[in-house]
Amino acid sequence: MTAAPAGAPPLLTVESVDVTLGRGWRANQVLSGVDLDIWPGEIVGLVGETGSGKTTLARTVVGLVDPTRGRIVFEGQPISALRRRARRAERRRGHVQLVFQDPLRSLDPDLTVAEIVAEGLRIRGEDDGDQIRRRATAALAKVGLDATVLQRTPGQISGGQRQRVSIARALAVEPRLLICDEPVSALDASSRNHVLRLLRELRDSLGLPIVVISHDLSSLAGIADRVVVLYRGRIVEDGPVERVFATPRHPYTALLMASAPSVRDDRPLAPHQLRRSGPGPVPQDGPGACVFAARCPFAADVCAAQPPLTPVSERWSVACHRHEEWGALAPSANP
């Protein structure tokens, strides 16, 4: 299933968003000029390393963090501009749901599964106990959990089940957009595939658009339609998953792919071929330089200025001055 019928407006637009966390000497710019559209019905994989700003971007989208510049538009309404009461009301409606990383820490250990899943409905102001219970049970059924877990606490169920409870909690309020922060990084391979399958089924059956945040490309391979790569607070590549994985245009995307472990010997490039070798100075690494220049083996003079995210093909953008040249400069593939 491919998403986004032509001409449909995006469901969510993130428009040149900067986010700075902390103040004064502690101020740390976490996101710089992030532009991102999410269309109805698509699964977008947001990938980046620790500290790249992917969780901050998710928190900004749901309104937990305010952008210092730019705006967030959801279904035509600029939600980042809402203040106080309007903001609270919007959050309570729960149109955008965030599934937090590490369910063991984000789920209240003293509540039962039934209470956790029902909480969102109560916060939204529903008070019909029977109906809340029915909808909580229905949400749990959607994620493949039956009534036997209802009265257990998060500590009494397995890691994979906990992750599904987190998803059920988000689904109970019938969101229009689901954002999952590292939904599978704590799980082993079999449970990981289980949860990923579930997300894909939710998209297919409910038409629910989903953003999956991950530090690891391989967990997006089975489900994402589109992949967005963040590096130090900037989007460096954004494109259809098959095409990006077939020929990554940004050297960092290529490095991420080469570094992902594989049970087969099938990687076109080894990671050391995409790393800067030797501790030599990096002439392009000044203020305003390309964020990746310091690690990039292909950096040249032009990289002393940050390249903008530029379209290279239909719905495929890259922020690299040398996206057409570096492929030829990379050492030849494994014989």
Binding site: T50, A189, N193, R197, H215, I223
Partner: protein
């Protein structure tokens, strides 16, 4: 390694000597580990050997006994756990009955270990350089100056850039990947024969993980280090290891050379793990799962412990203990189907 400043051997007073290959660093025979103060057995009859210059990987789901096995090898089983039966021998000496004092002599100087979360093993308020130098001074009796010099060399040898600067930094100033390199530097500081690495890269970014795996391989090549590497991720294991042991519910169900295991798996569980593991070309889109749940830790099961989840189970699987049989060069499988084909030959 140029300098061999290890204390003279033998320093394990009263340890029983085993026969074994000259290069055999670690050998586990019929190891049983009990948990919950003896109420259940979580590791059942593990046999494993690790030779000098070899990287052996233990892979399995959580609760499969892989971590308990390597903790038993290090003599650091958690409270309530004990070696119930079987033997652990290190460099030819039986170590299961060692005193605490003798273990302390082995730790650091002849066995090194790194774990998943390096920050929790380092003192947050002391510079990492002093923490490494302290090991050198206590274990090798080095003077302050020499220890500092050696520490900086070690930091450089594990790929830390600007080692003098790193020496004076505290853990909070270093990234996860750098801290794991510091832990590896500490673990190899006294030139041990064995390095035990329990999920050392699980918390790291993939690009950093690839660098740490390369470092371990390089240490093996340069120093002839024997490495026992534990991970739940078969892809990481196959990338790094020479030999693999697949754990399921406390038993090794298949072991053998890495290439053999990935290309010709003989146990249905190994096959299933390979199907769910990640591959590097990313274009594969089917998401396989292994049906069912692993048994409770220490569950009492007659016959094959995987039978309940096995797609090719036959009544014979539940009828008695399934033995591990050789199916190739160093390749052993615990499955009735493999046993049958061996008998047929």
């Amino acid at each position: 390694m140029a300098i061999d400043n290890r204390k003279p051997w033998p320093d394990l007073v009263g340890a029983e000597r085993h026969e074994g290959g000259a290069d055999e660093v670690l050998r586990l025979d019929d190891l049983h580990v009990s948990v919950h103060n003896g109420a259940a057995t979580a590791v059942r009859g593990v046999c494993l050997r690790v030779q000098a210059g070899e990287i052996v990987g233990l892979v399995g789901e959580s609760g499969s006994g892989k971590t308990l096995t390597c903790r038993a090898a290090l003599g650091v089983l958690p409270a309530g756990c004990a070696v119930e039966r079987g033997s652990v021998s290190f460099a030819g000496f039986e170590v299961t009955a060692l005193s605490r004092r003798d273990w302390e002599r082995l730790h650091g100087s002849r066995m090194g270990a790194v774990f998943q979360d390096p920050a929790s093993y380092l003192n947050p308020v002391i510079t990492v350089g002093r923490q490494l130098a302290e090991v050198l001074r206590v274990k090798l009796g080095m003077r302050r100056r020499a220890a500092r010099q050696r520490a900086i060399e070690l930091f450089e040898s594990v790929g830390l850039r600007q080692p003098e600067r790193v020496f004076d930094q505290i853990p909070a100033e270093l990234s996860g990947g750098m801290l794991q390199r510091v832990m590896i530097a500490i673990a190899i500081s006294c030139d041990p024969e064995l390095l035990v690495a329990d999920e050392p890269t699980t918390a790291l970014d993939v690009t950093i993980q690839a660098e740490v795996l390369e470092l371990l391989r390089q240490l093996r090549d340069d120093r002839g280090l024997a490495v026992l590497f534990v991970s739940h991720d078969l892809a990481v294991i196959t990338q790094l290891c020479d030999r693999i042991a697949v754990f399921y519910a406390g038993e090794i169900v298949e072991s053998g050379p890495a290439a053999e295991i990935t290309q010709r798996p003989r146990h249905p569980y190994t096959e299933a793990l390979l199907r769910v593991a990640s591959v590097g070309d990313f274009r594969r889109r089917e998401l396989e799962i292994i049906a069912g749940q692993p048994p409770r830790v220490g569950a009492d099961i007659t016959g094959c412990r995987f039978a309940a989840r096995c797609p090719v189970a036959v009544p014979e699987c539940g009828s008695g203990q399934v033995r591990s049989v050789p199916v190739g060069d160093q390749h052993h499988v615990r499955c009735v189907h493999a046993a049958r084909s061996v008998v047929a030959l």
